[in-house]
Protein backbone atom coordinates (compact mmCIF):
# COMPACT_ATOMS: atom_id res chain seq x y z
CA UNK A 1 0.00 0.00 0.00
CA UNK A 2 2.54 2.69 0.88
CA UNK A 3 3.38 4.75 -2.16
CA UNK A 4 6.95 5.98 -1.90
CA UNK A 5 7.83 8.65 -4.45
CA UNK A 6 11.46 9.40 -5.09
CA UNK A 7 11.82 12.99 -6.18
CA UNK A 8 14.43 15.61 -6.78
CA UNK A 9 14.10 17.96 -9.76
CA UNK A 10 17.85 17.73 -10.27
CA UNK A 11 19.05 14.90 -12.48
CA UNK A 12 21.80 12.59 -11.25
CA UNK A 13 20.84 12.84 -7.59
CA UNK A 14 20.51 9.05 -7.31
CA UNK A 15 16.74 8.64 -7.71
CA UNK A 16 16.75 5.59 -9.97
CA UNK A 17 19.47 3.85 -7.97
CA UNK A 18 17.52 4.48 -4.77
CA UNK A 19 14.31 3.18 -6.37
CA UNK A 20 15.95 0.02 -7.65
CA UNK A 21 17.92 -0.69 -4.48
CA UNK A 22 14.89 -0.14 -2.29
CA UNK A 23 12.47 -2.04 -4.52
CA UNK A 24 14.65 -5.08 -5.06
CA UNK A 25 15.64 -5.24 -1.39
CA UNK A 26 12.01 -5.18 -0.23
CA UNK A 27 11.12 -7.81 -2.83
CA UNK A 28 14.02 -9.96 -1.62
CA UNK A 29 12.49 -9.82 1.86
CA UNK A 30 9.28 -11.27 0.46
CA UNK A 31 7.20 -8.12 -0.15
CA UNK A 32 5.19 -7.52 -3.30
CA UNK A 33 6.69 -4.45 -4.95
CA UNK A 34 5.91 -2.33 -7.99
CA UNK A 35 8.33 0.24 -9.36
CA UNK A 36 6.78 2.89 -11.59
CA UNK A 37 9.51 4.22 -13.87
CA UNK A 38 8.69 7.85 -14.73
CA UNK A 39 12.22 8.76 -15.78
CA UNK A 40 12.23 9.63 -19.52
CA UNK A 41 15.47 7.64 -19.85
CA UNK A 42 13.63 4.58 -18.49
CA UNK A 43 16.60 3.09 -16.59
CA UNK A 44 14.48 0.66 -14.57
CA UNK A 45 12.55 -0.45 -17.64
CA UNK A 46 15.94 -1.24 -19.19
CA UNK A 47 17.01 -3.06 -16.02
CA UNK A 48 13.87 -5.20 -16.21
CA UNK A 49 14.90 -6.52 -19.64
CA UNK A 50 17.71 -8.46 -17.96
CA UNK A 51 17.67 -11.95 -16.53
CA UNK A 52 16.93 -11.07 -12.91
CA UNK A 53 14.55 -13.40 -11.08
CA UNK A 54 13.37 -10.56 -8.84
CA UNK A 55 9.62 -10.44 -8.34
CA UNK A 56 9.49 -6.67 -8.76
CA UNK A 57 6.81 -5.47 -11.17
CA UNK A 58 8.14 -2.63 -13.35
CA UNK A 59 5.73 -0.24 -15.06
CA UNK A 60 7.00 2.19 -17.66
CA UNK A 61 5.92 4.59 -20.42
CA UNK A 62 3.78 6.52 -17.95
CA UNK A 63 2.27 9.86 -18.95
CA UNK A 64 1.08 12.77 -16.82
CA UNK A 65 -2.51 11.85 -17.53
CA UNK A 66 -2.00 8.22 -16.43
CA UNK A 67 0.24 8.59 -13.39
CA UNK A 68 -2.55 8.98 -10.82
CA UNK A 69 -4.57 5.99 -12.01
CA UNK A 70 -1.47 3.80 -12.38
CA UNK A 71 -0.42 4.56 -8.79
CA UNK A 72 -3.94 3.90 -7.50
CA UNK A 73 -4.20 0.54 -9.26
CA UNK A 74 -0.81 -0.60 -7.97
CA UNK A 75 -1.37 0.49 -4.38
CA UNK A 76 -4.51 -1.63 -4.25
CA UNK A 77 -2.56 -4.72 -5.32
CA UNK A 78 0.97 -4.40 -3.98
CA UNK A 79 2.54 -3.97 -0.54
CA UNK A 80 4.96 -1.31 -1.76
CA UNK A 81 4.72 1.06 -4.72
CA UNK A 82 7.88 2.96 -5.55
CA UNK A 83 7.69 5.84 -8.00
CA UNK A 84 10.96 6.80 -9.65
CA UNK A 85 10.32 10.36 -10.81
CA UNK A 86 12.01 12.33 -13.55
CA UNK A 87 14.81 14.75 -12.77
CA UNK A 88 12.84 17.84 -13.75
CA UNK A 89 10.22 20.02 -12.12
CA UNK A 90 7.14 18.72 -13.87
CA UNK A 91 3.44 18.09 -13.49
CA UNK A 92 4.23 14.36 -13.30
CA UNK A 93 6.20 15.05 -10.11
CA UNK A 94 3.50 17.16 -8.47
CA UNK A 95 0.77 14.62 -9.31
CA UNK A 96 2.79 11.66 -8.03
CA UNK A 97 3.58 13.45 -4.78
CA UNK A 98 -0.14 14.08 -4.28
CA UNK A 99 -0.77 10.30 -4.28
CA UNK A 100 2.23 9.44 -2.08
CA UNK A 101 2.45 8.30 1.50
CA UNK A 102 6.15 9.11 1.73
CA UNK A 103 8.45 11.22 -0.41
CA UNK A 104 12.14 10.36 -0.44
CA UNK A 105 14.42 13.10 -1.70
CA UNK A 106 17.82 11.72 -2.63
CA UNK A 107 20.60 14.25 -2.93
CA UNK A 108 24.33 14.42 -3.12
CA UNK A 109 26.10 16.70 -0.70
CA UNK A 110 26.29 19.64 -3.08
CA UNK A 111 24.72 23.08 -3.07
CA UNK A 112 23.11 22.42 -6.48
CA UNK A 113 21.42 19.24 -5.29
CA UNK A 114 20.39 20.91 -2.05
CA UNK A 115 18.73 23.83 -3.87
CA UNK A 116 16.65 21.48 -6.02
CA UNK A 117 15.86 19.24 -3.04
CA UNK A 118 14.55 22.35 -1.27
CA UNK A 119 12.22 22.95 -4.24
CA UNK A 120 10.84 19.44 -3.88
CA UNK A 121 10.34 19.89 -0.14
CA UNK A 122 8.58 23.21 -0.81
CA UNK A 123 6.22 21.55 -3.28
CA UNK A 124 5.38 18.78 -0.80
CA UNK A 125 4.62 21.36 1.92
CA UNK A 126 2.29 23.26 -0.44
CA UNK A 127 0.50 20.08 -1.48
CA UNK A 128 0.00 19.15 2.16
CA UNK A 129 -1.94 22.40 2.58
CA UNK A 130 -4.13 21.76 -0.45
CA UNK A 131 -4.76 18.10 0.33
CA UNK A 132 -5.16 18.74 4.04
CA UNK A 133 -3.07 15.73 4.98
CA UNK A 134 0.55 15.23 5.95
CA UNK A 135 2.93 13.92 3.28
CA UNK A 136 6.03 12.80 5.16
CA UNK A 137 9.35 13.70 3.55
CA UNK A 138 12.79 12.27 4.18
CA UNK A 139 16.00 13.49 2.60
CA UNK A 140 18.43 10.72 1.69
CA UNK A 141 22.09 11.46 1.14
CA UNK A 142 23.46 9.49 -1.80
CA UNK A 143 26.92 8.60 -3.05
CA UNK A 144 28.44 9.40 0.31
CA UNK A 145 31.65 7.89 1.56
CA UNK A 146 30.94 5.06 3.99
CA UNK A 147 33.84 6.27 6.15
CA UNK A 148 33.99 9.99 6.92
CA UNK A 149 31.35 12.65 6.21
CA UNK A 150 32.70 15.55 4.17
CA UNK A 151 32.53 19.17 5.28
CA UNK A 152 29.86 19.79 2.61
CA UNK A 153 27.73 16.96 3.99
CA UNK A 154 27.98 18.31 7.53
CA UNK A 155 27.07 21.85 6.42
CA UNK A 156 24.07 20.74 4.39
CA UNK A 157 22.88 18.33 7.09
CA UNK A 158 23.06 21.11 9.67
CA UNK A 159 21.00 23.42 7.49
CA UNK A 160 18.39 20.72 6.81
CA UNK A 161 18.08 20.00 10.52
CA UNK A 162 17.74 23.71 11.28
CA UNK A 163 15.01 23.98 8.63
CA UNK A 164 13.15 21.05 10.17
CA UNK A 165 13.59 18.79 7.15
CA UNK A 166 13.95 15.21 8.39
CA UNK A 167 16.87 13.14 7.15
CA UNK A 168 17.25 9.40 6.91
CA UNK A 169 20.06 8.23 9.17
CA UNK A 170 21.16 5.76 6.52
CA UNK A 171 22.94 7.11 3.46
CA UNK A 172 23.12 5.35 0.13
CA UNK A 173 26.89 5.05 -0.02
CA UNK A 174 29.07 5.30 -3.07
CA UNK A 175 29.39 1.63 -4.08
CA UNK A 176 30.43 0.00 -7.32
CA UNK A 177 27.77 -2.62 -6.67
CA UNK A 178 25.00 -0.07 -7.18
CA UNK A 179 26.34 0.80 -10.63
CA UNK A 180 26.64 -2.93 -11.35
CA UNK A 181 22.90 -3.36 -10.77
CA UNK A 182 22.31 -1.47 -14.00
CA UNK A 183 25.30 -2.97 -15.81
CA UNK A 184 24.33 -6.60 -15.23
CA UNK A 185 20.56 -6.00 -14.78
CA UNK A 186 20.50 -8.14 -11.66
CA UNK A 187 19.76 -7.60 -7.97
CA UNK A 188 22.47 -7.19 -5.33
CA UNK A 189 21.87 -10.79 -4.22
CA UNK A 190 22.25 -12.03 -7.79
CA UNK A 191 25.52 -10.21 -8.53
CA UNK A 192 28.71 -12.23 -8.49
CA UNK A 193 30.98 -11.23 -5.57
CA UNK A 194 33.97 -12.33 -7.66
CA UNK A 195 33.34 -9.59 -10.23
CA UNK A 196 31.78 -6.84 -8.10
CA UNK A 197 33.79 -5.16 -5.37
CA UNK A 198 32.27 -4.45 -1.97
CA UNK A 199 29.11 -6.41 -2.63
CA UNK A 200 28.60 -7.51 0.95
CA UNK A 201 28.91 -3.95 2.23
CA UNK A 202 26.42 -2.78 -0.42
CA UNK A 203 23.90 -5.44 0.65
CA UNK A 204 24.25 -4.35 4.27
CA UNK A 205 23.86 -0.68 3.31
CA UNK A 206 20.80 -1.44 1.16
CA UNK A 207 19.26 -3.52 3.97
CA UNK A 208 19.75 -0.68 6.43
CA UNK A 209 18.15 1.75 3.97
CA UNK A 210 15.13 -0.47 3.29
CA UNK A 211 14.80 -1.24 7.01
CA UNK A 212 14.78 2.45 7.89
CA UNK A 213 12.21 3.24 5.18
CA UNK A 214 9.97 0.46 6.54
CA UNK A 215 10.36 1.91 10.04
CA UNK A 216 9.35 5.36 8.77
CA UNK A 217 6.31 3.89 7.03
CA UNK A 218 5.28 1.99 10.14
CA UNK A 219 5.69 5.12 12.22
CA UNK A 220 3.77 7.42 9.85
CA UNK A 221 0.28 6.60 10.98
CA UNK A 222 -1.90 3.88 12.40
CA UNK A 223 -3.43 3.47 8.95
CA UNK A 224 -0.62 1.30 7.67
CA UNK A 225 -0.50 -1.11 10.54
CA UNK A 226 -3.51 -3.37 10.12
Amino acid sequence: MPVVSIANPKGGAGKSTTALVLGTMLAAKGASVSIIDCDPNQPIKAWATGSSKATVRVLSDITESRIVSVIDVERAERQFVIVDLEGTASRMVSRAIARSDLVLIPMQASAVDAAQAARAVGLVREEEQVLNRPIPVRVLFTRTSPQIPTRNEKLIMDELRTSGVPLLTTHLNQRTAYQSLFTYKLTLEELDPATVNGLEAAVTNASHLAGEVVEVIRGMSGKVAA
Binding site: P2, S69, A89, S90, R91, R95, R99, V224
Partner: protein, 100 residues
Protein backbone atom coordinates in the same frame (compact mmCIF):
# COMPACT_ATOMS: atom_id res chain seq x y z
CA UNK B 1 31.08 -8.17 14.64
CA UNK B 2 30.48 -11.48 16.37
CA UNK B 3 28.87 -14.14 14.21
CA UNK B 4 26.36 -14.92 16.96
CA UNK B 5 24.95 -11.36 17.00
CA UNK B 6 22.89 -10.88 13.86
CA UNK B 7 21.89 -7.34 13.02
CA UNK B 8 18.21 -6.56 12.61
CA UNK B 9 17.06 -4.43 9.70
CA UNK B 10 13.38 -4.18 10.64
CA UNK B 11 12.18 -6.87 8.25
CA UNK B 12 11.02 -9.37 10.87
CA UNK B 13 7.67 -9.32 9.15
CA UNK B 14 6.32 -7.10 6.42
CA UNK B 15 2.89 -8.69 6.71
CA UNK B 16 1.51 -5.66 8.56
CA UNK B 17 1.99 -3.58 5.41
CA UNK B 18 -0.71 -4.60 3.00
CA UNK B 19 -2.12 -3.31 -0.31
CA UNK B 20 -4.94 -0.81 0.11
CA UNK B 21 -6.90 1.50 -2.18
CA UNK B 22 -6.22 5.24 -2.14
CA UNK B 23 -8.05 7.26 0.46
CA UNK B 24 -7.55 10.57 -1.37
CA UNK B 25 -10.14 11.46 -4.02
CA UNK B 26 -8.81 11.87 -7.54
CA UNK B 27 -10.70 15.16 -7.85
CA UNK B 28 -7.87 16.98 -6.07
CA UNK B 29 -5.63 16.65 -9.13
CA UNK B 30 -6.59 20.05 -10.56
CA UNK B 31 -5.77 21.81 -7.30
CA UNK B 32 -2.43 20.01 -7.19
CA UNK B 33 -1.72 21.08 -10.78
CA UNK B 34 -2.43 24.69 -9.83
CA UNK B 35 0.02 24.54 -6.91
CA UNK B 36 2.57 22.73 -9.06
CA UNK B 37 2.40 25.35 -11.81
CA UNK B 38 2.80 28.16 -9.32
CA UNK B 39 5.99 26.50 -8.09
CA UNK B 40 7.38 25.81 -11.55
CA UNK B 41 6.30 22.16 -11.81
CA UNK B 42 4.60 22.55 -15.16
CA UNK B 43 3.58 20.07 -17.82
CA UNK B 44 6.55 18.83 -19.86
CA UNK B 45 4.47 16.89 -22.33
CA UNK B 46 3.89 18.43 -25.73
CA UNK B 47 0.17 18.75 -26.45
CA UNK B 48 -0.71 16.89 -29.64
CA UNK B 49 -3.77 18.07 -31.59
CA UNK B 50 -6.11 15.10 -31.80
CA UNK B 51 -7.37 14.52 -35.35
CA UNK B 52 -11.03 13.64 -35.65
CA UNK B 53 -10.33 11.14 -38.39
CA UNK B 54 -7.17 9.11 -38.69
CA UNK B 55 -5.18 10.29 -41.71
CA UNK B 56 -4.70 7.81 -44.54
CA UNK B 57 -1.63 7.69 -46.74
CA UNK B 58 -3.28 5.24 -49.11
CA UNK B 59 -4.19 6.57 -52.58
CA UNK B 60 -7.93 7.00 -53.17
CA UNK B 61 -10.20 6.81 -56.20
CA UNK B 62 -13.91 7.23 -56.93
CA UNK B 63 -16.66 4.73 -57.56
CA UNK B 64 -20.09 5.64 -59.01
CA UNK B 65 -22.91 3.30 -58.16
CA UNK B 66 -26.42 3.14 -59.65
CA UNK B 67 -28.33 1.71 -56.71
CA UNK B 68 -31.95 1.54 -55.58
CA UNK B 69 -33.23 4.54 -53.63
CA UNK B 70 -34.18 2.24 -50.75
CA UNK B 71 -30.62 0.94 -50.48
CA UNK B 72 -29.18 4.45 -50.81
CA UNK B 73 -31.53 5.77 -48.09
CA UNK B 74 -30.67 2.83 -45.85
CA UNK B 75 -26.94 3.48 -46.34
CA UNK B 76 -27.26 7.24 -45.73
CA UNK B 77 -29.30 6.70 -42.54
CA UNK B 78 -26.81 4.13 -41.29
CA UNK B 79 -23.93 6.56 -41.92
CA UNK B 80 -25.76 9.36 -40.12
CA UNK B 81 -26.62 7.15 -37.15
CA UNK B 82 -23.00 6.10 -36.78
CA UNK B 83 -21.59 9.52 -37.67
CA UNK B 84 -19.65 8.02 -40.58
CA UNK B 85 -18.73 9.91 -43.72
CA UNK B 86 -19.74 7.91 -46.85
CA UNK B 87 -16.10 7.02 -47.26
CA UNK B 88 -15.92 5.69 -43.69
CA UNK B 89 -19.26 3.90 -44.08
CA UNK B 90 -18.07 2.19 -47.25
CA UNK B 91 -14.80 1.19 -45.55
CA UNK B 92 -16.81 -0.22 -42.62
CA UNK B 93 -18.95 -2.31 -44.97
CA UNK B 94 -15.86 -3.63 -46.77
CA UNK B 95 -14.32 -4.53 -43.43
CA UNK B 96 -17.40 -6.63 -42.62
CA UNK B 97 -17.30 -8.69 -45.84
CA UNK B 98 -15.05 -11.33 -44.39
CA UNK B 99 -16.63 -11.13 -40.94
CA UNK B 100 -20.08 -12.13 -42.14
Amino acid sequence: MSASVKPSFGFESLADIQPAPASVPESTVQEVDRIGERMGFTSREVAVRRKRRPPSDEPSDQINIRASITDINYFVEWCETNRYSYREGFAELVKRINQA
